[in-house]
Amino acid sequence: MHHQIYIGLAIILPLLGTVMIWMSGSRPNQREVVTVITSGLTFLCVLQLLPEVLAGHQPELHVTELLPGLEISFKVEPLGMLFALIASFLWIITSFYAIGYMRGHHEPNQTRFYMCFAIAISSALAIAFSGNMFTLFIAYEVLTLSTYPLVTHSQTDEARRAGRVYLGILMSTSIGLLMVGIIWTWAAAGTLDFTPGGILKGKIDDGLVIVLLFLYMYGIGKAALMPIHRWLPAAMVAPTPVSALLHAVAVVKAGVFTVLKVIIYIFGADFLTETGASIWLMYVAGATVLLASLVALTKDNLKARLAYSTVSQLAYIVLAGALATSHSLVGGAMHIAMHAFGKITLFFCAGAIMVASHKTEISQMRGLGWRMPFTFAAFLIGALSVIGLPPLGGSWSKWYIALGAADADQLVFIAVLMISSLLNIAYLIPVFARGFFGPREEEEAQMAGSHEDHGDHGDHGDHAGDHDTATHDAHDASDAGKRIAEAPMLCVVPLWITALGCVALFVYSDWLYAMLSPIVK
């Protein structure tokens, strides 16, 4: 009984937090305290459910029946548990980071920012715990709508255009394809409950499985499968904490999480392999992995590069789902966690660089590593984890996905994974390298003059008031090239926590594997 309370609390607490953030809008300190406390309590609630799930139980909570047989209900199973843990834990870290970033960056409308953030987390947790496709769909839509004000936070024309792309793609795919798929499933199977082994077997013509799978995979726009990935780079106009938690973790992971849920609990992995309906999806996902990496190579804006990297990494998970073997599914689920920690670290670093030096373009970051060594070191850890090298978490998930590809006799995808790793190296490592191996000391003085102009032109993402600081920084640089000028502590400590998380995930991966393995039984 008491586990139901925790499910409800985990979803309701952030909403209560939203109201309290709103009420303390005029007192920033109180508002931030509310955010932090809410995130902490929410994580505790989620944590309370963990022993139950590890013991093999699946606590349920039935809220209300919307239409006969169609209810809003929650059920905690390992996959959702994992996603909820990640989202709620990283929310705490991001809250601290956001405080440092938003204040350091003098962002307006911070109350609205924190409110929408809390709603987004609440809906991400509702997605994680949803007991049927219908509940998931509702939470999915709330997540889209609540993140829209975050994407358009700056309210500039650029933000508005990006918001249009964001909302346009996510809404049109979810209403246009996903909803049709869900209603079709409902009409065919008579239920939408997530059931181990799937609900569609024998209920739908084998030939139509491909069509239905298409509706789902392209309906879940948040999984950013090419060519409907455009919303993700567009969303990068948002403040960096949003890009970090929502567009590297909560929103995009909600997408791939839904993909895995649909494949495991709606279609059923065996059913998919029997009908061969997911073969096209493997190729689309494989192509997305490579193409997005190639596009990332061409991006000079750090956040844009990370965004395309995310598109590519999300496609790993879709690929894992499409392979639908027990190794690949567990690997895909693990990759949700691994990539979350790796990518949020990278985004935190991008934000810290922006706060400390107002630099957004990679070409401007020459020698910056000497001034921000902690940030750049953490960047390296995150990058290595995303690339998938030991001793970092990302290596395990890639390993299992590759194993899954071997199980499924789709060896070409092992090659795809390996090429992708090389591409990851090619676009992530130069950022770090430029930070340390760029010209410094003797060249610094002559650099400073040109650097200054360059920096000002490049800073289009910032507001006009930053010009003073940018000039000031450039002078600083010419005075003492190696002087440390890190971002505020509230920015640097969180990014180290997540970086260490990447290491911890490597060490404790067996625990993760044990927790996730029931999903493929």
Binding site: L66, I138, V142, L167, M171, I175, M179, V180
Partner: protein, 492 residues
């Protein structure tokens, strides 16, 4: 004692209250009378609905005359639902009207407005309770004539031409309907709808009956603004005062849809309407055209009231599409949408009334930046807009859900896709307004607009709340719509 007279009370109350408004004249007296009358008939409707759901169809003999001779009032689930919609919207709109600009505009003749409003209400309720074909026509004309007056009250002189246009089109429609009823009377010798339904098969489906059918469908299509007979509606709704637009958009076309349902399914019967005559195909085609063309037009309109008016034409398309399926789910979807659309369009038009109250315009450019100065008003617009788009947890979603399910059940995939595609167009025209209000700088003369008064906000928010409530707790509309659909289909 009073309870058994409920079916007649719902029409008697506004009918008596209307002249009372003129007798008492004073602004407050007239308001008080109108408020009591609308709330009273809403209470009666609620009791009737409860009775119908509990014990089935109610029949009431007017003046104690048994049906073939006297007029029978006959209320089943469908009628009860229509009664609830009309009187419910009326009850929200009546207090709203008191503080809207409308009453300042008509100055000391506000009793005239209330009189016309009550007559319109009476007519619409009358259509929904009567079981007599000719009586139905009479009530329809009471409501139509009074709505011409209401529309002509608009502040813009174009309201007069809009009303005139509606008058011409509406009268043609009414004439067609009365011709149809005349032909039916000639064929069957009765005006009681249940009787006509019984005698038609014996009489046989000769040319008279087919002509009656054609006249009726065209006449009702005109009244309910089914594409391409919708020309009168966009102007009428956009130049009418917002209060009137809200009331008419939420009720008048719904009652016409009811007439179509009643005649197609009960009077002519499913077999004649859909098996002998190929009605379903043209209805479906027109419905789909209605879902698209007016929606696309709405995307290019600058007057937000006109956007909503075109959207109303599109929404009629959804209802007719549901009817065109001729299945249990399809009919349920159509009837549900009737209910849900009343909620969302009512809410949106009331919001626009509040906007007009403060800035004197509903132009999308004049509404720029309005979310800063009138946050609660624009939040209500977002709420109603989301429901119109069909976001989950709003009423609009429930009707879309049933509609798509109906299409899938019939195996009409292309139609399911079209339903979805057309609702994406709604995203565009609603989002244009939201973007303008939330992202653009307000015009210079509108920097210091105040939030709308509570007397306008509360009614609008009640309907927005209704959209959310009936998006979550769907048992009332769904059970009534299902019961209605069953009885419509089961009649044959």
């Amino acid at each position: 004692m009073l309870r058994e007279h409920l079916p007649v009370l719902v029409i008697i109350i506004p009918l008596i209250a209307a002249p009372l408004c003129i007798l008492f004249r004073g602004r407050d007296q007239a308001f008080g009378i109108a408020l009591l009358a609308t709330w009273g008939s809403f209470a009666c409707s609620a009791v009737i609905a409860a009775k119908v759901m509990a014990s089935g169809t109610l029949s009431y003999e007017l003046g104690g005359w048994p049906p073939p001779i006297g007029i029978e009032l006959r209320i089943d689930a469908l009628n009860a639902l229509i009664l609830l919609i009309v009187s419910g919207i009326g009850s929200v709109v009546a207090p709203y009207a008191r503080n809207s600009l409308l009453l300042e505009y008509v100055e000391d003749r506000s009793y005239m407005f209330y009189c016309a409003f009550l007559l319109c209400l009476c007519g619409l309720m009358g259509v929904a309770v009567t079981g007599d074909a000719f009586n139905l026509f009479v009530f329809l004309e009471i409501s139509s004539l009074s709505s011409y007056v209401l529309i002509a009250l608009g502040f813009d002189r174009r309201a007069l031409t809009a009303s005139y246009q509606y008058l011409i089109m509406g009268t043609i429609g009414a004439t067609f309907i009365v011709i149809s009823i005349g032909l039916l009377y000639q064929a069957t010798g009765t005006l009681n709808m249940a009787d006509i339904a019984q005698r038609l098969p014996e009489h046989g489906y000769d040319r008279t009956v087919i002509a009656a059918f054609a006249f009726l469908v065209i006449g009702v299509a005109l009244k309910m603004a089914l594409f391409p007979l919708h020309q009168w509606l966009p102007n009428a709704y956009s130049y009418a005062p917002s209060t009137v637009s809200a009331f008419l958009a939420a009720t008048a076309t719904k009652v016409s849809v009811y007439i179509l349902l009643r005649f197609l399914f009960t009077v002519f019967g499913v077999q004649f309407s859909f098996d002998i005559l190929p009605t379903a195909v043209p209805l479906t085609i027109l419905a789909i055209l209605a879902m698209f063309i007016p929606s696309i037009v709405a995307c290019f309109e600058h007057n937000v009231k006109k956007v909503l008016a075109y959207s109303s034409v599109a929404q009629i398309g959804y209802m007719v599409l549901g009817i065109g399926f001729v299945t249990m789910t399809g009919l349920t979807a159509g009837i549900l949408h009737l209910f849900n659309h009343a909620l969302m369009k009512g809410a949106l038009f009331l919001v626009l009334g509040a906007v007009f109250y403060r800035i004197g315009s509903c132009n999308i450019d004049r509404m720029a930046g309005l979310a800063r100065t009138m946050p609660w008003t624009m939040a209500a617009f977002v709420g109603g807009g989301l429901s119109l788009i069909g976001i989950p947890m709003t009423a609009g979603f429930i009707s879309k859900w049933y509609l798509i399910q109906a299409a899938i059940e019939k195996g009409w995939w292309h139609i399911a896709v079209l339903i979805v595609a057309s609702s994406l167009i709604a995203v565009i025209y609603i989002w244009r307004v939201i973007e303008s209000a939330y992202f653009r700088e307000p015009p210079e003369d509108l920097q210091n607009v105040k939030e709308a008064p509570l007397s306008l906000l509360i009614p609008a928010w009640i309907l927005v709340f209704g959209n959310v409530y009936f998006g979550i707790e769907t048992s009332l509309p769904v059970s009534m719509a299902e019961l209605a659909a069953r009885s419509l289909l089961g009649a044959n």
